[in-house]
């Protein structure tokens, strides 16, 4: 068990290094940050001085080495645009992104699992066919389109929900939450639905497929033979056995929800990390970009690790295999 964790940790460090390297290579192509930092009339000397002060005139390899050295000390430098330490900026923005992601994931689970069960049990019903057709739309429509659509229906036409922002937030120590105010709760509905819709349809289809599989197995037949009721069979026996892959997928999807919140956050001007990242790309704000990419990689690595460990805890077969190895 310990060996497994250590092996994973080493792998994780390697992944982070590779991400940093690729990110750094890409930054060559985002443009000149200096031009975004000063007004048009700033003299060439002042620009050169600034470039030197930021170390942008050093060799790429040198810049990379310096970046990695600082990164292992949790120092990602200061944002070129906001002139504030990147760590502080991310700490400020992270609560918004995490709250949005968690609410979106809960929405996806709360709706996806029951719908999946329903469509698996009532395979021929009209509602099932409708839901499956709609889920296809949910999977194929791009996020920004869904977001704009929701804004136009619920904000512009019906005027029941705000079109942008996070509403009023309450500070709980370092954490700022929008989940404790009415305006904050109203503000999170549309972005969370937009962000969670894809995951919702994914979970629904996954649960349905797994349920159909499990319902065909022998022990379900035996359960029926024992005279158990539909309810006990569907929820007590079938659903429970479909949940292992669902947990895995949901866990992994949480990472991608956080990472891909970029588009949703931009459409709703949600003050999270994704919005900050996108603006950083437009402004060639390298410190924010590199820190964000590393953070997302780190989140993925940690979630993967947790899912692997959870697997061992949940599925006895893996535990036995691991012991034998």
């Amino acid at each position: 068990m310990l060996a497994f964790v250590i092996r994973r940790a080493v792998e994780a460090a390697l992944v982070l290094l590779v991400v940093a390297l690729i990110a750094f290579a890409l930054f060559r192509f985002v443009g000149d940050p200096i031009n975004q930092m000063v007004g048009l009339e700033t003299s060439a000397e002042d620009r050169a001085q600034l470039r030197h002060a930021l170390g942008l005139d050093d060799a790429v390899l040198m810049q990379f080495a310096r970046f990695v050295w600082h990164a292992v000390h949790f120092d990602f430098g200061s944002s070129y645009q906001f002139k504030k330490p990147v760590i502080a900026l991310i700490a400020e923005r992270f609560p918004a992104t995490l709250e949005l992601s968690v609410v979106a994931a809960l929405f996806a689970l709360a709706l996806g699992i029951p719908l999946g069960v329903y469509t698996a049990i009532h395979r021929q019903s009209l509602l099932t066919k409708l839901l499956l057709a709609l889920s296809l739309v949910g999977i194929s429509l791009p996020t920004f389109l869904i977001g704009i659509l929701l804004i136009f229906v619920f904000s512009v036409s019906l005027q029941v929900l705000p079109s942008f922002g996070r509403g009023d937030v309450v500070a709980l120590g370092f954490w700022s939450t929008g989940l404790l105010t009415v305006s904050g709760l109203k503000a999170i509905v549309l972005p969370a639905v937009t962000l969670g819709l894809f995951q919702m349809t994914l979970i629904m289809r996954l649960v349905r497929a797994e349920m159909l599989e499990v319902l065909r197995t022998d022990y379900i037949k035996f359960a029926r033979a024992r005279g158990l009721g539909d309810r006990a069979i569907h929820f007590g026996h079938a659903l429970r056995n479909t949940l292992v892959p669902v947990i895995t997928i949901t866990g992994l999807q949480l990472g991608s929800i956080i990472a891909f919140a970029i588009v949703t956050e931009t459409v709703f001007q949600w003050p999270g990390m994704g919005l900050m990242f996108l603006q950083a790309v437009q402004n060639a704000d390298i410190p924010i970009m590199s820190a964000y990419l590393l953070l997302v990689a780190l989140i993925f690595v940690i979630i993967n690790l947790l899912v692997d460990l959870l697997y061992i805890a949940v599925d006895p077969r893996i535990r036995i295999a691991a012991r034998d190895a």
Partner: protein, 527 residues
Amino acid sequence: MNFKVAIVALGLALGSLHPAAAATTLRFAFQGDLKSLDPYSLNETFSLGVLGNVYEGLTKRDKDLNIIPGLAERWEVLEPTRWRFYLRKGVKFHNGEDFTADDVLFSAERVRASGSDLKTRLPADAKVVKVGDYAVDFVLTQPNPILHYEWDTWYMMSKTWAEAHGSVMPQPATGQQMSYAALHENGTGPFAITEHRPGVRTLFKPNLHWWDKPEHNFDEVVFTTISNNATRVAALLAGDVDWVDPVPLQDIARVNANPATQVLSGPELRTIFLGFDQLRDQLKYSNVKDKNPFKDVRVRKAFYQAIDIEAIKSRVMRGLSTPTALLISPLLFARAGEFARWPYDPVAAKKLLADAGYPDGFEVTMDCPNDRYVNDEAICQAVGAMLARIGINVDLLAQPKAKFFAKVLASGSYDTSFYLLGWTPGSFDSWNVLFNIIGCRDETAKSGMFNLGGYCNPKITQLTGQILVESDKAKRDHMIAQAFRIAHEDVSHIPLHQQALVWGVSKNLKVVQRPDNQILFYWFRKE
């Protein structure tokens, strides 16, 4: 006793629940961020404009851009190199301190210090002398009739406040800690900033002790960035904000169709133009080898006459542009009306090309930003299509501004053969255009730094030098007209148009739209 306290506390709590109902709030959204509250850290219209509600300069500009007294009551030019400014008495900073001559001296040092992006506001060799608590002399090394033209955005900062908070120097770009002045303000203006979260939200409250009589009726003003075009327009339509800038041209009809909102458009000062590389002996991006066709005025004129500016106005800009023959807005140069564009005439253009030795035209790459000016990429595409009609094959390279400017500006060694650029003279004066855009590129004189094509005419250089020190307005205007005339005859550039400001405004809001696009909401009112 405790009971009494509880009653009072309850009363306060209830009271604080309701002021929103009666308060008049202005909520406005812009596409970009208010990056720093330090008024010397970025020379950019939006930041300086918004800070103009909080800070004030010695001079101000009124609703028609005329220079009027600000923190200086009046001024006089004692001799051409000595200007005396008499400061307004009784002005207080937001922290309650008096504004005096010491603050002017301090601001003059700080605006020219390392890290300031507004060094051009005051000549580096100008001396600032305190004459009394409420009078200051500016001693120059050479006469400068437009010394105070940009002072409406050179904001006065408090010496004692800056010293107390370690903000004597402007925020350095590499700073590990954000300087106090970048997150807090202490101006003299009609509004004070009570909360500033960069990139998220900024809250303004009126300054009840302002020296001037306020025209606005706001109890608070909230600024948010909304970068996405569709979301910004939706927020206005939904009534979540009262004012947005900019409205994309394709959404104008929708905003006007909504009964509660309207679009306000007006001419902006920025001029959009095309330029050619006239310096290199061979173009970097063309199929013409061993010579540079743009060195020939006939080729430049052919390009000019091939462009149907009215079609660009009606099709690309949806009517919201003002075609121009000059590189400066007619609002900034009184005699601009004397100039007319070279007429659109593809036949004449083709003949000019043939005369110059290119009867079959040639290929050239055009550099164009795609997120900087209104419909910039579409303008370039239209220009490309028009030039194709006279046999010029334009290969369009449209890029985001970060990439575009890195390539075409000095930092990229002016790596372009044919480009589109926009320019607003910061001083609202022709000299700025003649010096930066048309003047010969000269490292030591620092002239022509934005003359990307390297056009150079010594006659213009000479006139520009005279214009800088000439104090007689009629003479000065005459020399400016002369210089522009030479550039026009030489086809130094192809001026296209001044783009329009397009604000989306809720109908119950009265606004003042100034052509320099500064958002001075102390002139706004909500009915």
